[in-house]
């Protein structure tokens, strides 16, 4: 395995180097770096031009310029990185670090969300092949896939930001709005659950009534402006999550696993009280990360203690429950800070930027501020990726479901849940892994338009500005990051293959 990885790394390095050479030559020939000065009518135009030529080394042959750049990059291995400067004199290394972190913040949530939603939608539509739900997912997948980002972003800003902000000013849901939302949720749930028409109608009507009542009650309580969640709800939600996770992965019949998950949920809620101090006013992100790691470790421990014969599974499910409980707790804290946040920022969702300039809130209010700014671009990016994930998962799942061993599994009397999660799903994941890995690498460099329309300064902006001004340094820095990401992700996919498919290991 190690030899395999090293060989892959070596080859990747050569590919990266050759590609960088090509990229450099293409970039410096992409236009006229003096174009703006050529059209200037300043008296000292020639001097300004000479200065720019000297600064950018325009009078040198391409291989010398490339060599200068390459030696600067090679310095990274000896601790003196030099990725050059932009035409405006900004340090490209710093710029890249900032852009990369901003892009990562933007795409991480979108990628995770897209994977979860896309794969779930794909599996369900495969299981319910040729149902109304399947057709709807297919239709939406093609719609999203062909969505022009620019147009979608403008629409989202109109409805997700401007109109939402107008609405939250009063926070009052009109009856048509309540009924509309309830109707949509009812129809979707009914379609997902499936079954006979009768069953669909019952689930649909039940969901509709439930959602409508909840929304109505929340409206009366002015919940949208002054929301609360409460520890009781945290406990209930985590217990619900524990049951759901167990039901899907292990089956409720497996009592040891179920008890492990339920214990995790309870312990998680209790620890909310224990760590209330650092949780409500954390000194930094590290405190939260530390607590999160601790939560996962404790969950795994609980799983191991309860596990018995199903130890491995109990540990996994406890860990998932632990993560979900942590998220619920964070949700509770955020809900508690919403009213204060609204006071600081009466229009919570801005159409541009990754945060509000000169925002003065405390830690969680700042989290809310940057979190709200993530919502719209994340939706755009997610929609696009979800489309392809759901399609790939669906076809790969369908293929697996028709294999002989799945029929064998069914005929030996396994429950449908066990057949799908244990036998079919894992094999269906193999081709998806490749796509996810490539997609993530692509998203880092490919969020160019999304970044620009939502006013995030990320890798895309750096690339575009560099190319516009025929300025090779930022373009090459972009290339280095995205190229390396592509290679690394590709390798991760290969390793994940080996994990998912034992045949490859041999």
């Amino acid at each position: 395995m190690l030899k395999f990885i090293l060989r892959r790394l070596g080859i990747s390095f050569l590919v990266l180097w050759a590609a960088s050479l090509l990229m450099y030559v293409l970039t410096i020939n992409a236009g006229d770096p003096l174009a703006d000065l050529r059209e200037s009518n300043a008296e000292n135009r020639d001097q300004l031009m000479a200065l720019r030529v000297d600064q950018m080394g325009l009078d040198l042959p391409w291989y010398e310029r490339y060599w200068d750049w390459l030696t600067g990059v090679a310095g990274c291995f000896t601790g003196s990185c030099d990725l050059g400067t932009t035409v405006n004199g900004a340090n490209v290394l710093d710029l890249t670090a900032q852009s990369a972190s901003s892009t990562l913040r933007l795409v991480t949530a979108a990628t995770l969300l897209a994977i979860v939603v896309g794969i779930a939608a794909g599996i369900i539509s495969a299981i319910r092949q040729y149902s109304g739900f399947d057709y709807s997912v297919t239709f939406l997948a093609f719609l999203f896939f062909s969505l022009p980002v620019f147009w979608a972003a403008v629409l989202l800003k109109e409805y997700g930001a401007i109109r939402f902000n107008d609405w939250i000013a009063s926070g009052d849901m009109e009856p048509p709005m309540i009924l509309g939302i309830a109707l949509v949720v009812g129809v979707v749930i009914a379609a997902v659950v499936g079954g006979t028409w009768r069953r669909k109608i019952y689930t649909g009507a039940g969901t509709f009534a439930f959602v409508a009542v909840v929304l109505w009650v929340l409206n009366i309580l002015d919940w949208y402006r002054n929301p609360f969640f409460g520890t009781a709800m945290v406990l209930l939600s985590s217990l619900g999550a524990a049951v759901l996770v167990t039901a899907i992965i292990a089956g409720l019949g497996n009592r040891r696993v179920l008890y492990a998950a339920l214990t995790t949920a309870v312990v998680g809620t209790i620890s909310y009280f224990v760590f209330a101090g650092p949780l409500l006013e954390p000194s930094s992100w590290w405190v939260l990360i530390g607590l999160f790691v601790l939560a996962v470790l404790v969950s795994v421990g609980i799983g191991a203690a309860w596990g018995g014969y199903a130890r491995k599974q109990a540990m996994l499910i406890s860990a998932i429950t632990g993560v979900l409980t942590s998220l619920t707790i964070v949700f509770d804290i955020l809900v508690g800070h919403w009213a204060g946040f609204l006071e600081l920022k009466s229009r919570p969702i801005s159409t541009i930027g990754s945060e509000t300039p000169n925002f003065t809130g405390d830690f969680w209010e700042s989290v809310l501020d940057s979190g709200m700014q993530l919502i719209l671009p994340t939706i755009v990016l997610t929609l696009i990726s979800v489309a392809s994930y759901s399609r790939y998962t669906r076809s790969s799942m369908l293929e697996v479901m028709n294999q002989d061993y799945v029929r064998t599994a069914r005929s030996k009397g396994l429950s449908e849940r066990a057949v799908i999660t244990k036998h079919a799903f894992r094999n269906a994941l193999i081709p998806i892994t490749t796509i996810v890995a490539f997609d993530f690498a692509g998203l880092i460099g490919g969020a160019v338009i999304t970044e620009s329309v939502f006013g995030w300064k990320g890798m895309g902006a750096m690339f575009r500005e560099g190319l516009d001004r025929v300025d090779p340094d930022p373009v090459m820095a972009f290339f280095l990051v995205t190229g390396t990401a592509a290679i690394l992700m590709n390798m991760l996919a290969d390793i994940a293959y080996a994990y998912l498919d034992p045949r490859i290991r041999r």
């Binding site: 703006d36 050529r38 200037s40 300043a42 008296e43 900004a90 801005s350 159409t351 006013g455 500005e465």
Partner: protein, 612 residues
């Protein structure tokens, strides 16, 4: 920051291809849009008639924040006079941090900033200008603004790397100033004063310079430079007077690099960036890629800024309209396209839109070097008679700015009403106002042109508005016998492009007026660098020489009339229109005033106030 000789380059440096391409491409939204006649003022508040800043009655700074965005490009540094940093994006921020002797009014008039100081020509020939800085004027760290700052300002535009004063502005400058060495060329002796801390100093010009008023505006803090070079302020002054390179070299090193902010988000040490304007950098106010906030300068001696904080957000131009609607931005200068106006109107009364004409003007130029128009006045006239100027303005410009008119001059703009009327009355009789196909056909025959003579109209493509203009010309002029060809090309202005090789009959582009008086000499006089068509006319050359060597405004006006008349009679080219500009702001803001000058709408940002 400074509005001076190189100012014409601002538009170019900042907007790339912009200067010569129209403003329909996304890259071009940041042209210094401007205007003086408010075509639309929904609030109905009386627009000040004075083109300079007027007293708004502000006596103290109100808490609050106003957001504005010029575009995506981040702040580059405190020294905005380096070739690297000199751009519209940087100027909109830096101009707020420095005050100086002059600024441009809403119609491009030169206004004196009386709170800062005053200047006057004590003698016109030889030209001697006396400057007086207000006694109260201090840097934000308490150091008085004095002669020393202006001596350094002069040195940055005069001293060469060899430790001499520039002879003809062609040497390598010691200080990397975007303005080059012109000032040293004209004033080799530098400003003279009694002492380093004098508030009055005098510039003695070696030869008369028509644009003398733009030469000296604001300055950088000499005491900071002295400190960084390891000497006292007096020692720096002496070093400049004696051209002591052992002091000037480290000083130049700091001036060239010490004020660059090469890592976005990291503000410079407050002690090296004192300001002389109403605003200063706010502590922790710069978030990389997001925004930069200025806060009121508490040491400012004059009228305080109306609102405490001014935030510049770095967002792409096409996001501005929605951001304004959502309250993320308070003032925007969107692209002046036909689509923008209805978009803004749709928002309703929460947003006020101002439109008007800018200092950028579009024109058709003939090729005198080769082709059918060279040496053939009748052919040029035939073309001029068939160009539908009124139709172009009505169809393409009036939907953006109702007040748009056909432009009939080159050196004055329609909104500079008085001067414009006086110049056009003498130079142009209105014969090309309307399309006259009969006259055109007559002239066509007189010129001895053949039916179907190919006329290539070159411009920098892609540019939808210019493509539309060419189409309008084609539909009219083809009837006369011309065969108009749309020769728009991305490389039209590039090295080796059509303009350089001469493969064009008509060039369609825009010049950005700079507020300078004599800059047109480079365009219309024989063998000048911007005289692309190779036009040559003795009367014009002579008039330009007279104009450029005088500081008398009546002489300027008289010579402008001669030049304009000759350019019309011999048909250098055909002016079309001044580009329209659009500004929109939250209706709760007061004192937002449209300007034709290239400073952009932020020119009076310190007067913007939120209605309480």
């Amino acid at each position: 920051m400074k509005i001076r000789r190189a100012s014409a380059a601002v538009a170019a440096v900042a907007t790339g291809a912009l200067l010569l391409s129209a403003c329909s491409s996304p890259a071009s939204e940041n042209e210094p849009e401007s205007e003086e006649t408010m075509a639309e003022e929904t609030e109905g508040s009386a627009e000040p008639t004075d083109s300079c800043k007027v007293d708004t009655g502000v006596t103290e700074t109100a808490d609050g924040n106003i957001s504005y965005s010029a575009g995506e490009v981040q702040w580059a540094g405190y020294n905005g006079n380096l070739p690297d940093t000199y751009s519209t994006y940087n100027s909109v921020i830096n101009d707020r941090m420095f005050s100086g002797f002059m600024y441009f009014g809403t119609d491009g008039t030169i206004c004196q900033d009386e709170e800062f100081g005053s200047f006057e020509a004590v003698s016109e020939d030889p030209l001697q200008v006396q400057y007086t800085i207000s006694d109260d004027a201090v840097w934000s760290d308490g150091t008085p603004i004095t002669y020393a700052d202006y001596l350094l300002d002069w040195a940055t535009q005069a001293v060469t790397t060899d430790g001499t004063i520039s002879e003809d502005a062609s040497e390598t400058p010691l200080f990397n100033s975007v303005s080059g060495l012109t000032l040293g060329d004209y004033v080799p002796e530098g400003p003279q004063a009694d002492s380093a801390d004098a508030k009055t100093f005098q510039y003695d010009y070696e030869r008369v310079y028509a644009d003398w008023q733009l030469m000296v505006t604001s300055a950088f803090p000499a005491h900071v430079v002295a400190d960084q070079a390891g000497v006292s302020l007096e020692e720096l002054v002496t070093a400049i007077e004696e051209l002591d390179m052992s002091v000037l070299e480290p000083a130049a090193e700091f001036w060239n690099t010490g004020w660059l902010s090469s890592t976005p988000g990291e503000l410079p040490d407050p002690s090296i960036v004192p300001v002389s304007g109403q605003y200063t950098l706010k502590e922790d106010g710069w978030v990389a890629g997001q925004s930069l906030t200025l806060t009121a300068n508490e040491e400012f001696w004059g009228t305080p800024p109306a609102t405490k904080e001014l935030t510049y957000r770095f967002a792409a131009a096409d996001t501005h309209v929605q951001a304004l609607q959502n309250g993320d931005l308070d003032v925007i200068e969107p692209q002046a396209t036909v689509d923008t106006i209805p978009q803004l109107e749709q928002i309703g009364s929460s947003v006020t839109t101002l439109t008007g004409q800018t200092l950028i003007w579009e024109h058709l130029d003939y090729n005198f070097a080769n082709g059918v128009f060279a040496d053939n006045l009748a052919a040029r006239e035939a073309f001029a008679y068939c160009v539908p100027r009124q139709k172009i303005v009505d169809d393409l410009i009036a939907p953006i700015d109702e007040g748009a008119v056909v432009m009939n001059a080159r050196e004055v703009f329609p909104y500079q009403t008085e001067k414009y009327d006086e110049v056009t009355a003498e130079s142009y009789d209105g014969r090309y106002d309307e399309v006259d196909l009969e006259m055109a056909t007559e002239k066509f025959a007189e010129a001895g042109l053949e039916e179907g003579t190919e006329i290539r109209i070159g411009y920098s493509a892609p540019n939808p508005r210019r493509a539309d203009e060419v189409a309008a010309i084609k539909s009219s002029c083809d009837q006369v016998g011309f065969n108009i060809v749309d020769a728009g090309n991305a490389d039209f202005f590039a090295a080796g492009g059509a303009l350089e090789t001469g493969d064009w009959e008509i060039a369609l582009f825009a010049w950005a007026g700079s507020g300078q008086i004599a800059s047109g000499q480079n365009i219309y006089a024989t063998d000048r660098p911007q005289n692309f068509g190779g036009y040559s006319n003795e009367t014009v050359d002579e008039a330009w020489n007279t104009l450029a060597s005088s500081v008398d405004e009546s002489v300027h006006l008289e010579q402008t009339k001669i030049i304009e008349k000759e350019l019309w009679d011999t048909l250098y080219g055909i002016p079309l229109f001044a580009h329209p500009g659009v500004v929109a702001h939250t209706s709760s803001l007061e004192n937002v005033r449209f300007t034709a000058a290239q400073d952009g709408i932020v020119w009076n940002a310190e007067q913007w106030a939120r209605a309480s």
